[in-house]
C-alpha cells in the first residue's frame, strides 16, 4: 500500500534529536537509525525521555514542546514538515500503538468503523472494500468472530482484544515503521505474551520496522535486534541486543539487568537478593553535572561528575561511560 522504500534506505534515521519546551529538555541529543524491517528497542524508565522521543517522531508533542535535529523518514525530514504533510504519513508510513487502548480508541465509535476509517483515509478505498479489509485484518490478528467484533464499542471488549485492534489499526496500511510505546504494560500477564507474539508475527509479515519502547527488558530481548538504553534524555548504551544484554558496558544497563527477578536467580531458601540501583532517576529540570548517572553509579569518579561522556566504542556496542564495565575476555587478557 505504501511505496516500497528505496533499497538500503533506513525506515527512520534520527540525528541529534532535542525535545524541549524552553524550561525543561526531555530529550538531549539522541541519534539512531532503524533499517527497513529492522527491530529496535528503546529501554528507559519514567523520566528517561523515551515517550517524548516517540511523540517527537510522530509529531504528536504536547503544546509548547518543540524539536531540534533531524528525523529522516520516507524521503523527508519529519521535524521540518507541516502538520498537514505529517498527517498524511501518520497511520500510513509511520504509525504508533499506545499503552492504554481504552483511552486511545474512540469510545463512542464502533471498533470496525475506526479501523475502516484509517484504511479509507489513507488509501481512498470505498466503504465496502475498507470493511472487507477490516474483517481480513481482524482475522489475521486471531480475533474471534470478526463479524461481531466490528460492531462492538471499545468498552465492550477485553483489554487484550482492544490492544490487538490498536495494532490492527496501526498496521492496516503496511507502514514502514511502527512505534509501540509500552503496548502491553496495562495488560494482564497471560495476555501480554499473546499480544506480543501477535505483534511479532504481524510486523514480520508486513516487513515493517519496529521501534519497541518499554522499561521491560525481557520484551526487548524477545523481539528486537538492537537496543538503545536511555537515561535522563540521552542514550547511554546502544548495540545489538545479544551484546548489550549479555555484556553490558554501562553501569545503568547492568543495574537494570540485575534488578529483574527471574526464576534462575531465586534461591530456594529465600536468601537471594535483587541488586537494586540506589537512589532515583533525577528530575529533568535538575540534572547533575557531568554524567547524569553519577549519583547512583558504583564506579563514579570525579571525572564523571564534571565531564559528560559521549557514546563511543570500537565494537558494534557503543556506550557513554568513562569507566565502562570490562568484558570478561578483556580482563582475562590483561
Amino acid at each position: 500500500m505504501t511505496p516500497p522504500l528505496s533499497p538500503g534506505a533506513p525506515a527512520i534515521e534520527v540525528k541529534d534529536l532535542v525535545v524541549t519546551n524552553g524550561d525543561v529538555t526531555a530529550v538531549r541529543g539522541v541519534s539512531f537509525s532503524i533499517p527497513a524491517g529492522g527491530r529496535m528497542g528503546l529501554v528507559g524508565e519514567s523520566g528517561s525521555g523515551k515517550s517524548m522521543t516517540a511523540l517527537a517522531l510522530m509529531g504528536l508533542l504536547p503544546m509548547g514542546w518543540h524539536t531540534h535535529g533531524e528525523v529522516l523518514h520516507d524521503g523527508a525530514d519529519l521535524a521540518k514538515l507541516s502538520d498537514k504533510a505529517l498527517s498524511s504519513r501518520r497511520g500510513r508510513t509511520l504509525s504508533m500503538v499506545f499503552q492504554d487502548p481504552l483511552s486511545s480508541l474512540n469510545p463512542v465509535r464502533r471498533v470496525g468503523d475506526q479501523i475502516s476509517w484509517v484504511i479509507r483515509h489513507h488509501t481512498g478505498a470505498d466503504r465496502k472494500t475498507a470493511e472487507a479489509q477490516t474483517l481480513e485484518l481482524l482475522r489475521s490478528m486471531n480475533l474471534p468472530r470478526p463479524e461481531n467484533l466490528v460492531r462492538a464499542y471499545p468498552h465492550e471488549i477485553s483489554g487484550g482484544q482492544r490492544q490487538r485492534i490498536m495494532i490492527a489499526m496501526a498496521l492496516a496500511c503496511y507502514p514502514q515503521l511502527i512505534i509501540a510505546d509500552e503496548p502491553t504494560t496495562a495488560l494482564d500477564v497471560t495476555v501480554q505474551k499473546q499480544v506480543l507474539r501477535l505483534l511479532n508475527s504481524a510486523v514480520a509479515e508486513r516487513n515493517s520496522a519496529l521501534l519497541m519502547i518499554t522499561h521491560d527488558l525481557p520484551i526487548i530481548a524477545a523481539m528486537c535486534d538492537t537496543v538503545a538504553v536511555m537515561y535522563a534524555g540521552r542514550i547511554v548504551e546502544m548495540g545489538p541486543v545479544q551484546e548489550v544484554f549479555r555484556h553490558p558496558r554501562h553501569h545503568y544497563t547492568r543495574g537494570l539487568l540485575d534488578s529483574q527477578p527471574t526464576m534462575d536467580n531465586i534461591a530456594l531458601d529465600g536468601s537471594s537478593r535483587l541488586v537494586s540501583i540506589p537512589g532515583m532517576v533525577p528530575p529533568l529540570h535538575d540534572l547533575p553535572s557531568g554524567c547524569a548517572f553519577n549519583l547512583r553509579c558504583p564506579a563514579a569518579t570525579d571525572k564523571c561528575r564534571t565531564d559528560m561522556p559521549e557514546l563511543g566504542g570500537e565494537t558494534s556496542l557503543k556506550s557513554a561511560c568513562w569507566h565502562p564495565i570490562a568484558r570478561a575476555d578483556e580482563v582475562a587478557a590483561q
Binding site: 519546551n21 525543561v24 519514567s46 523520566g47 517524548m52 511523540l55 532515583m280 532517576v281 528530575p283 535538575d286
Partner: protein, 289 residues
C-alpha cells in the same frame, strides 16, 4: 506522559504561582467591582435617589456628574455605585446559599447509597427543568419583589446544578485508594467527607461559586429590569435599565452605563473563574503521571 512524571519528582518544594491572563484580568475587574461597592458606603458623589429636576438629562463628562444624570437629575455614578451593592448582595447571596445547599446534597448523593443518590438526583433534575425566571416571577408574585425574593429565586435554580457538580466531583474523589485506607482505619463517613473529600473538591467549589455569582448578577439585572427585583430606594443596574427605557429616544447613554457595568463585572467574574480553574486543577492532574 514522561514529563508529568518528572515534574512531580521535585526534591525541593517550589511554589510557583501560575498567573495567567484570565486570572489577572478577572481579579482586577472583580476586585475593582468589590472596591466600588465598599466605597459606596462611605462616599457618594451625590444622592442617588433624590430627584434634582433642574439637572435632568445632563450629558456625561461634566465636573459634577462624570457620567451625566438620568431623567430625574440623579447622578449616574452614584446610582451605579449603590447598584453594585445590590449586585453583590443578590449575586453572592444566591450563589452562597446554592453552594451551601448544593454541597450538602451533592455529598449526600455521592456517599450515602443508591437510594439517596436517586432521590437527590431526580429531585435536582425536576428542579432544573423549571425555568428560573418562572420561579422568580412566582416568588415575586407571592412574596413581593425585592432583594430577598430574588436571592431565594436564585438559590432555587442554582442549587440543583451545584448539586450535580459537587456530586460528580465527590464521586471521583471517593474512588481513590486513600478513601479506602481512611475507612480501613475506622474513619466515619462524615469525617471522610469533611477532611478528605471537601479539601479535594475545594477548587471545583470556588470556581463554580464565581460562575454562579456572575450568573446571579445577570439574572438579578434581568429581574429588576422586568420590575420584579429591587425597588427604590434600593438601586439595581437592571432597574436603571428599566428606567432608561423611558428616555431611549432622547438620550441613549442612560442605558449604556448600567449595561457596561453588568458586562464588565460578569466578564470579570467569569474570567476569574476560568483563571482559577486553570491554576487549581493542574496540581491535581499532575499526579496522574
Amino acid at each position: 506522559m514522561t514529563i508529568a512524571a518528572t515534574a512531580t519528582i521535585a526534591p525541593k518544594r517550589r511554589r510557583r504561582l501560575d498567573l495567567n491572563a484570565s486570572l489577572v484580568v478577572g481579579l482586577v475587574l472583580t476586585l475593582g467591582f468589590l472596591a466600588v461597592a465598599v466605597v459606596s458606603f462611605v462616599w457618594l458623589p451625590s444622592n442617588p435617589n433624590i430627584p434634582v429636576i433642574k439637572n435632568r438629562m445632563l450629558p456625561p463628562f461634566l465636573p459634577d456628574h462624570w457620567l451625566g444624570t438620568d431623567g430625574l437629575g440623579r447622578d449616574i455614578i452614584a446610582q451605579l455605585m449603590v447598584g453594585a451593592r445590590t449586585s453583590i448582595l443578590v449575586g453572592a447571596g444566591g450563589a452562597s446559599i446554592a453552594l451551601f445547599l448544593g454541597t450538602i446534597t451533592g455529598l449526600v448523593a455521592a456517599a450515602y447509597g443508591k437510594l439517596a443518590d436517586e432521590t437527590i438526583s431526580r429531585g435536582a433534575d425536576i428542579m432544573l427543568s423549571i425555568p428560573g425566571m418562572v420561579t422568580a416571577l412566582v416568588l415575586a408574585a407571592t412574596m413581593g419583589s425585592g432583594a430577598l425574593t430574588t436571592i431565594l429565586a436564585l438559590s432555587a435554580f442554582f442549587t440543583p446544578s451545584f448539586t450535580r457538580v459537587i456530586r460528580a466531583a465527590a464521586m471521583s474523589v471517593l474512588q481513590e485508594d486513600f478513601i479506602t485506607s481512611a475507612r480501613l482505619y475506622g474513619r466515619g463517613k462524615l469525617f471522610i467527607l469533611a477532611r478528605h473529600v471537601i479539601p479535594n473538591i475545594g477548587g471545583v467549589m470556588i470556581v463554580q461559586f464565581t460562575l454562579y455569582f456572575a450568573a446571579g448578577i445577570l439574572t438579578e439585572a434581568g429581574l429588576s429590569y422586568l420590575g420584579v427585583g429591587v425597588t427604590r430606594p434600593s438601586i439595581s443596574w437592571g432597574m436603571m435599565l428599566n428606567e432608561a427605557q423611558q428616555t431611549v429616544g432622547i438620550s441613549s447613554p442612560l442605558a449604556i452605563w448600567p449595561g457596561l457595568a453588568i458586562v464588565f463585572v460578569v466578564l470579570g467574574l467569569n474570567l476569574l473563574g476560568d483563571g482559577l480553574r486553570d491554576v487549581l486543577d493542574p496540581k491535581l492532574k499532575q499526579r496522574r503521571a
